[in-house]
């Protein structure tokens, strides 16, 4: 039962370019989504969130887009920096996490 799916296990991007991480969900009752970043041996840290009443939320280099009809959200990081290299999880509220995408930003 994968209610939140991150279909790309990894992504490699050049420093300065845009990173786009994708997430799909199946439950149309989900109305709040979050992105977390996780470094090895640390707990997840909150990055950005979006409510279903919006289709975009921006915070500095991070923008989350929500397409409710497609049940799809994406996280854009621009410009990408080497320190962004981590595992990124999308989550519906705090209860359902995706499998994560490993982002590697090459300098």
């Amino acid at each position: 039962d994968q209610q939140v799916k991150q279909n790309s296990p990894s992504l490699s991007v050049q420093e300065g370019r845009i990173s786009i991480l994708n997430c799909d969900y199946t439950n149309s009752m989900f109305d709040y989504f979050l992105w977390y970043k996780k470094y090895p041996a640390e707990g997840p840290t909150f990055l950005i969130s979006i409510s279903s009443i919006k289709d975009k939320n921006e915070d500095g280099r991070f923008t989350v887009f929500l397409n409710k009809s497609a049940k799809h959200l994406s996280l854009h990081i621009v410009p990408s920096q080497p320190g962004d290299s981590a595992v990124y999880f999308c989550a519906a509220k705090e209860l359902v996490f995706g499998a994560g995408t490993i982002l590697r930003v090459k300098s």
């Binding site: 979050l34 969130s49 705090e94 499998a99 994560g100």
Partner: protein, 114 residues
């Protein structure tokens, strides 16, 4: 900056033994959570706790698990009779508004059942 703290950072236990994982959530937070991450797998929700009772739990959170807030600051996860497959990182988290705001995670406790 306030943070969620978890102890111990690593716990090794024998199969069948009871373990208690401890967490100190952020002081003004009202919602508390436990998650686990088996090595190489995704973060899985176990249980949420609000107003001194379980508000939601997953199918993973069966009768061998229990949670408690024994005083005003600690939040504990007890595993009664550990199995090899309980080996995982266990993360505690807290939030101030439940499902409408972010949860802050602790550094995790690595549980190894041998």
């Amino acid at each position: 900056e306030p943070e969620v703290t978890q102890t111990p950072s690593h716990q090794v236990t024998q199969m069948g033994q009871e373990v208690i994982l401890r967490c100190v959530p952020i002081s003004n937070h009202l919602y508390f959570y436990w998650y686990r991450q088996i090595l190489g797998q995704k973060v899985e929700f176990l249980v949420s706790f609000y107003n001194n009772e379980i508000s939601e739990k997953s199918e993973i959170f069966d009768d061998q698990f229990s949670v408690e807030r024994p005083d005003g600051s600690n939040f504990t996860l007890k595993i009664r009779s550990t199995k090899l497959e309980d080996s995982a990182m266990y993360f505690c988290a807290s939030s101030d508004q439940g499902g409408r705001t972010e949860a802050f995670f602790g550094q995790g406790t690595r549980l190894t059942v041998v």
